[in-house]
Subunit: 218 residues, 2 copies
DNA sequence: TAGATTGTTAATCGATTAACAATC
DNA sequence: TAGATTGTTAATCGATTAACAATC
């Protein structure tokens, strides 16, 4: 299924977007699509689309294009969405609750098995049929359920402590919403950061750049 | 202050991260830093650090390095964090409430002036001293407060409709958490997307790739 | 078969890294 | 002055785009 060379991060980060567009096309009943059409929809070049897919193998057919369903399934398999994973979420503040309630975990093969917070007022509440527990219970929970993935929705200072515990409990995969630099302390883990404030600052730059450009062109 | 060539997106997306590290260094009382030290801390190369800063001008001093405070202030100014902006947030579900409650808007020059939702049960509640209003009030609000930035925390289907209205009210800057492709319909706007589920799928890929690599090396 | 579109190689473009003279 | 470190140019590396033969 895979050509098994090392895939570049640029390509990997485009895969979820391909997957989204293909899911959409499929739900619209589109059966096949050419690299040219898909590229136009996603504002890429047809060359890039073909190069990207050919990192993993030839999914298309000359003169025809790609089967939407097959291509979507291939990418689903490349992303490993079918492989079951168990997640623990730490931090049930506004952000943690939003992630717990909002995110489509099941289609990615993820079971959210535990939610933890140290705030007594949150403990006992239920999100997605998961009861928020006291962070003290993290060790016993992990020994019982063996999650392989942790979602960090605690502030930076708490994250350092939580991470030390999670790491010693054997967790090596992190979805990190905090500003704590997990990979700096644990070089052997896989961390995917979501830095919302970086995104907002980037927007700030682009706004002030745009305003300046308009001012200049007047 | 600026060299005013076109700055590449790669550089722009690193600026918030520089800003975060410099803020941290400053709060730790560090007065100066060399490109080599900063690069080590951020896992970049010293070359890249210097190239990045020199897009905007020479902020350092040979034989000495960079003044943390001055450099931080320069980047703050490049990002335009000091320029006042008014934001309207649409969608006060879990995600919208998390963004409203969690995000540090003030340090970026952003005033969150209005929050809107169509869910009657949410209307009237207060977040950060802003009352959630009915989405029907969007037009009158925008005519009164003239926000220049919209934060989209509604589902994809709602986003299309909301965007049409916001666009016609003159809003050109969007922080988009939905899967609606704003830029496809309005090519003249500046959109910064936060696709949390793409990030999670990227993590899924990296997990299954890591597991596979470990299996192979056994 | 003719037309369309892929898979893949080659060319281009841009971003990162290395090197070093300038200079504090 | 000697040592350190920048700013900047040149070299390398990687990613994107273009081209085209293969083939459905």
């Amino acid at each position: 299924m895979a050509k098994s060379d090392k895939i570049s991060m640029s390509v990997i980060r485009r895969l979820p977007r391909y997957y989204r567009f293909l899911s959409e096309l499929q739900s619209e009943g589109v059966m096949r699509i050419s690299s040219k059409q898909l590229a136009a929809k996603m504002r890429l070049t047809a060359s890039q689309v073909r190069q990207d897919f050919n990192c993993f193998g030839g999914f298309g057919q000359q003169g025809y294009g790609y089967s939407v369903e097959q291509l979507k399934n291939e990418i689903e398999s490349i992303l490993g969405l079918g492989e079951p994973k168990t997640a623990v979420l730490v931090g049930a503040g506004n952000l943690g609750r939003a992630v717990a309630a909002h995110m489509a975990f099941e289609p990615k093969g993820i079971t959210l098995a535990g939610i933890f917070d140290r705030n007594e007022r949150l403990i006992g509440a239920t999100l997605r049929n998961v009861k928020i527990e006291n962070t003290d219970m993290l060790e016993s929970f992990c020994k019982r359920r063996r999650p392989n993935l942790a979602i960090l929705c605690v502030p930076k200072d708490a994250a350092q402590n939580i991470c030390r515990r999670l790491y010693s409990l054997g967790i090596r995969y992190y979805w990190n919403f905090s500003h704590y630099d997990v990979a700096a302390d644990y070089p052997d883990v896989v961390v995917e950061n979501v830095h919302m404030s970086d995104s907002l600052m980037t927007l700030c730059y682009r706004i002030s750049d745009d305003i300046e450009a308009k001012r200049r062109s007047e």
